[in-house]
Amino acid sequence: MTTLAEGPPTSRLVELRFKPLWLYVDEVREFCGFFARATFEDPAIGDRVGLVVHELIENAIRYGDEKELELRMERLEGSVVIRVANTTSDDRAQRLAAIFAEMMAISPGDAYARALQSAAGRPSIESGLGLPRVRCEGQVDLELEIEPGRVCITARGAA
């Protein structure tokens, strides 16, 4: 199993590996948000981290294959970096890649506004809002890595 990309050990704050179950989402959000708030001594960063973590984990649970989920939160050069990796089918990974590319082609604010406009026309089980929200409200740059059977989203924002 390929793990999340290694970083200097001294920057790592939190690393979690767990079965992707819905019942963990709120706990992980609260925990990571609290730790970010305490580490960076800034409630706004705690809120942003909580939001980013929550939405990325929800996506991993909804669209993953329910086997494995890893989260890492790091402090790197004045930024907070959150990485969420999960196992998934290659088909879903490719769909994610297409959605991601389309979103990244425009600014975070425009992508979020566009997603809100088109949300009403989508099937009720999908909002299509998660990633645009992470990017815009979380104020993070997003990166997607895909390898066979696995996806990893990295969110990096100023801290």
């Binding site: 939190v14 690393e15 590996r17 706990e27 609260e30 305490a38 580490t39």
Partner: protein
């Protein structure tokens, strides 16, 4: 560390602060639920005591590293806490650890002695922590200079 497909792991690195203990304990206990209530309960106690020790007696500047793995299949958990301790505490820690010994029987006796000793200790000091941890887990202690690693195996 435990590593099976049904394991949960939590690795956290943080600067020592009392207010970080409870949220971490709560999160870990919730994560340990898959291993059963008994194991989750013990994990909570052990983690609380290890972290309190690390915060109270560790050097105030260096980070505390926590590495926990929980197996829902084997109903086991391993909790490791590493930090740099105040040099003045290390000899005392070693002595307390040796007093506890390696068996539950010895740990129970050590805890009973520690309770009796309470009245003679300064306010705020209990020295119960290690004994309590040893009652709930198999505890090992490694000391390298000023670095202290406590590993507790729970089942």
């Amino acid at each position: 560390m435990l590593d099976d497909r049904h394991s949960t792991s939590v690795v956290v690195r943080f600067s020592p602060a009392w207010e970080k203990i409870e949220p971490l304990r709560q999160y870990v206990v919730a994560s340990a639920g898959g291993a059963g209530e008994k194991v989750a309960g013990r994990v909570g106690i052990v983690l609380q005591e290890l972290l309190e020790n690390a915060v109270k007696y560790g050097d105030a500047v260096s980070h505390i590293e926590v590495d926990i793995s929980i197996s829902s299949v084997r109903k086991q958990a391993e909790v490791r806490v590493a930090n740099r301790a105040q040099m003045s505490r290390i000899a005392l820690l070693r002595k307390e650890y040796e007093a506890i010994g390696g068996s539950t029987e010895t740990a129970n006796a050590a805890f009973a002695r520690a309770l009796q000793r309470l009245q003679r200790l300064p306010q705020g000091s209990t020295m119960l922590g290690l004994a309590r941890i040893a009652m709930e887990s198999e505890l090992t202690l490694q000391i390298n200079g000023d670095q202290v690693i406590m590993t507790a195996r729970i089942s």
